[in-house]
Symmetry: C2
Subunit: 241 residues, 2 copies
Amino acid sequence: MTATVTDVHVPRERGARGIPEATIARLPVYLRALTALSERGVASASSEELAQAAGVNSSKLRKDLSHLGSYGTRGVGYEVEYLRYQIAREIGLTQDWPVVIVGMGNLGQALAGYGGFATRGFRVAGLVDNDPARVGEVYGQMPVRHLDDLEDVVSRHRASIGVVTTPSAAAQQVADRLVGAGVSAILNFAPTVLTVPNGVDVRKVDLSIELQILAYHEQRKAHPDPLAAVVLPTDQQVRPA
Amino acid sequence: MTATVTDVHVPRERGARGIPEATIARLPVYLRALTALSERGVASASSEELAQAAGVNSSKLRKDLSHLGSYGTRGVGYEVEYLRYQIAREIGLTQDWPVVIVGMGNLGQALAGYGGFATRGFRVAGLVDNDPARVGEVYGQMPVRHLDDLEDVVSRHRASIGVVTTPSAAAQQVADRLVGAGVSAILNFAPTVLTVPNGVDVRKVDLSIELQILAYHEQRKAHPDPLAAVVLPTDQQVRPA
DNA sequence: GAATGTGAAGGCTTTCACAGCT
DNA sequence: AGCTGTGAAAGCCTTCACATTC
């Protein structure tokens, strides 16, 4: 629903400029691959080489990049630095994103100390916790503030991204307050479905869901087809209804 | 395309029993919703209610469940306990999955102490780290063993799932050793593309990728359509091609 | 000659809408 | 009367294969 002057009926929202969601999800992967190549001093790479580094196939990579523009040279490949900048710009990493983390348990501490944020345009702008005993402790050079100050922390740093690492029971309330304070994107680590107003983006990271998906496939590896072994009479074929 | 005795040519692998991958990824979400309802004493629920609790729409939920069998009652809904058991069984959570965590930094510690595993059929069977200073420390009642003992820890507990929470530089080596020791499913938190043999499943959790996807959408919110603002003359409407 | 950029084809996933069961 | 289970339609995403460009 791109806000143009006269609101034209747009059949589908995908980013504001027609880049498929599946592609967007891979851009950060390409960015990382390009950064790695750059650090190894590689100046240029073919779609095949890039794809290998990113763990996808080359047609997918080419199709993805084609949505951004024509940044390669036929017969040659892509210039690493140039493409890297273009992708960073497309994602919005040429600007600085202040992030507030709520919930300073083990996971919150891990995130606060994670160096990967800084190098990718994200800045931990505030740490918040409910427990007075934790207030004032310092993680990654940032002191923990009390939950009561959440709104202050968010607005003072103009944070638009919040990370929720509280227990499930608190997650919805925290999300409500983050949104109330002006946050419009939430990364949720609590195993809960968050309800948020339109216009607020939520992404979810759920460890035990990932493990369960792995478990499903593991089970199938061990017992490829239980029905064939257990249910069917020795030599009579039954057509499944 | 159920694998029968004579190995029929299978056009596509999706689980071993025709359940779409997209559905599998949602089963754990349904399971959690059902558990929550069960704890609230709800005995039965319609697809609409379940879908709401799980954060999806009801046709998707019904279609997903239809791949498992006919576990509902027309005109009534689904019995919570019964459906919960069926899904748990389908995922493979009626058995116990020993998990080995490699890399006891902040994130590894967070996972070791995460109570959510135990209640969902996963058991932390071993903690491993490279740093002699950390060996012997106890997290979640489990002592840390040295990386040298990785193979021993895996085989002694018959772990088939490994969690990699090492720095990127070590991740591939650790994955190789896990696979060598008998692990066939890996949950990777290191921001690296892991290369593993066929038959080994890898899932990746990447915090900064999630943040980057949020950043992309945030950027689009702030500047909904740069082209429209910059390119278009004040009051002339251009029909998007 | 080599590798990109892209229509077209093929698959997978979601949504629709209703037949069928309770 | 109400709600599930499911074909059919519609929408996405991936893969193919090649015209185009350097």
